[in-house]
């Protein structure tokens, strides 16, 4: 088992010491960074600091130097976003800081995505996400998308005011095993249930695991409307997406 001093980057060590509290998370993250190259740790540190310019430059330099794109994504960007997610969950940072980190992630991924795409590397899963019909609020949904992207998912963002048909067409088009719906308003929350009913009516319900979230949504509402899971925030959304993906694979005997 690695120890904190095995992590070379001082910024990362300080982040772990100051912000991580759960022993299992500390252990897992130390393990991740202890095996990561110093250059990858530096990319992660810049991402956690929200420095998109530095992430952009260092990602490009690492790829130019021959580092594998998957290694840069996993050890640099995704591992950095892992710490960002924990700091956000524990209220050490808030939405503006997460937006800055996501902007840095995007700067790095702009170099990585074309390489992964050309080499046919599969994402860990694909998710269709949208805010439901009648609702124009998207900050919560966008945070989920940033965190999902930061964990290696491919996300198809349908935006706001998304109809039942648009959700179904997108799931079909992208062959997505996961779908997430968001609502901020109590008036639009019932449209989540209506969308799930539309999937049932179209014999598509078994094809996709459906997650729901948003300020007025609770686990109880999620259960009542027949969703497969509820995430109370963007970090929980990622954990839920991973769990549902595993369930889906188990159901299909993969």
């Amino acid at each position: 088992m690695a120890e904190l001093n095995d992590v070379q980057n001082e910024f990362i060590r300080t982040e772990i010491e100051e912000y991580l509290e759960r022993p299992n998370e500390i252990e897992r993250i130390i393990d991740v960074f202890a095996q990561a190259k110093p250059e990858m740790q530096a990319i992660a540190a810049a991402l956690i600091d929200g420095d998109n310019g530095a992430v952009d430059e260092m990602t490009k330099a690492a790829l130019d130097a021959g580092t594998d794109a998957l290694e840069v994504m996993d050890d640099g960007l995704i591992s950095g976003m892992g710490i960002v997610g924990i700091k956000f969950r524990e209220n050490f940072i808030f939405v503006p800081e997460v937006l800055a980190c996501a902007r840095a992630m995007k700067a790095g991924m702009a170099h990585i995505e074309p390489i992964l795409s050309a080499s046919g590397v599969e994402p860990i899963g694909s998710v269709v996400m949208g805010t439901v019909k009648g609702d124009l609020h998207d900050i919560g949904k966008n945070l989920c998308i940033m965190m999902l992207g930061g964990s290696g998912f491919i996300v198809h963002d349908l935006g706001v005011d998304t109809s039942e048909d648009e959700f179904m067409e997108a799931v079909e088009e992208h062959n997505a095993p996961l779908m997430g719906m968001s609502a901020l308003l109590t008036t639009t929350m019932p449209n989540m249930g209506k969308t799930i009913e539309a999937f049932i009516d179209s014999d598509m319900r078994e094809d996709v695991k459906i997650m729901v979230g948003g300020a007025p949504v609770t686990q109880e509402f999620a259960d009542d409307m027949g969703a497969d899971g509820y995430g109370k925030d963007a970090v929980a959304c990622v954990e839920l997406a991973k769990k549902l993906l595993l369930e889906l694979k188990a159901e299909k005997g993969q």
Partner: protein
């Protein structure tokens, strides 16, 4: 309470906003009481009730005439000023609130900010001042008529878009302060117009919520502006911020605002401990899980929890869900009156 002569609803609300003795704790919703059932009852449906003064007044007064609340709040949404500033609005139908199309922002920079010359005569702002005049004519000193003027932080979300505005607050604090300072004219002008129309108090929503930004943000960007609003809008102001706010209630209590409308994500007793009688608290009956989904008994339990903690004005935490049953809303004043008797 004991020894206090019977008050009118207006007297009761204004006294509670000053933390003076009251004959009973007033019932108040500083955001919106509109529901579909009430719209049907008085034939004043959305979206028209947001745009026509007579319908706005007719739907608003149901909080007093039908529900037994001590206030009338004619502004059911948070879009009136933004519409007058030039934002696009999705007006929706009876079963949904109108919303600003925040993905189509109208400003990118401080220099873009313009308060149009017709800001106060635009149909969507004039509707509010006209509705307040109608209500004051009908109810005089009987019930408190509460107006609403949006704070610059909320206007920033609408006019710049939520993500660009929040990123600007991190990237360029000076520019953000400059933007807030320029947008505050809309808050003050609309507030004064409603005072001149007869409003007894003003709700000032400014959504620097703990779900989005830190308590330190409130102090850095908004505390001084809110102090200025108290100085320039010379009637009681009820600040409204949704979500977790207990970490910034100490700063809020230092502004001189009459009251803070707080959310059910904050515990009543803990909130009272933080504000230490420097500001009245209004709230905090849970909307989605209690008023919208449960029955009168659950509503009563939350009312009593607030009363036991000494909350100054009882009401829903935010705009009532449009499909809320009237029975649940009526339970709030009933529970307050029975608690007072006991």
């Amino acid at each position: 309470m004991a020894g206090v002569k019977q008050m009118t609803s207006r007297e009761r609300v204004l006294a509670a906003l000053k933390r003076e003795p009251v004959d009973r704790t007033p019932v108040c919703n500083p955001t919106s009481v509109a529901t579909v059932e009430l719209m049907d009852l008085v034939d004043a449906p959305f979206p028209d009730a947001n745009r026509e003064p007579e319908l706005m007044a007719r739907l608003a007064e149901t909080s007093y005439t039908e529900l037994g609340f001590d206030t009338i709040m004619p502004v059911f949404s948070i879009i009136q000023e933004s519409s007058a500033l030039g934002c696009k609005i999705q007006w929706e139908q009876k079963d949904n609130w109108p919303t600003v199309k925040m993905r189509e922002p109208i400003w990118e920079d401080a220099d873009d900010i313009r308060i149009p010359p017709d800001f106060l005569t635009h149909p969507d702002t004039a509707c509010v001042t006209d509705a307040i005049r109608i209500l004051k004519k009908r109810y005089g000193d009987e019930v408190a008529v509460v107006g609403k003027t949006m704070g610059p932080w909320s206007l920033g979300y609408h006019c710049f878009g939520v993500e660009p505005f929040l990123l600007m607050s991190l990237d360029d604090p000076d520019k953000t302060k400059q933007c807030l300072d320029r947008m505050k004219k809309a808050t003050i002008d609309f507030g004064i117009a409603q005072i001149e129309a007869g409003a007894d108090a003003l709700t000032l929503p400014d959504h620097a919520t703990g779900d989005l930004v830190s308590g330190e943000y409130y102090e850095r960007y908004l505390k001084d502006l809110h102090i200025e609003f108290v100085e320039r809008l010379k009637i009681p102001i009820i600040l409204h911020i949704c979500g977790k706010t207990v970490d910034r209630m100490d700063f809020i209590a230092q502004t001189g605002m009459a009251a803070f409308h707080y959310d059910s994500k904050n515990e009543p007793a803990e909130s009272m401990d933080v504000v230490q009688n420097r500001i009245s608290l209004v709230g905090n009956i849970n909307n989605p899980e209690t008023l919208f989904s449960k029955g009168p008994e659950a509503v009563r339990a939350e009312v009593e929890k607030n009363l036991d903690a000494g909350i100054h004005l009882i009401g829903p935490e935010c705009a009532i869900p449009l499909q809320t049953a009237i029975e649940n809303l009526k339970e709030i004043p009933i529970a307050v009156k029975e608690w007072t008797k006991n």
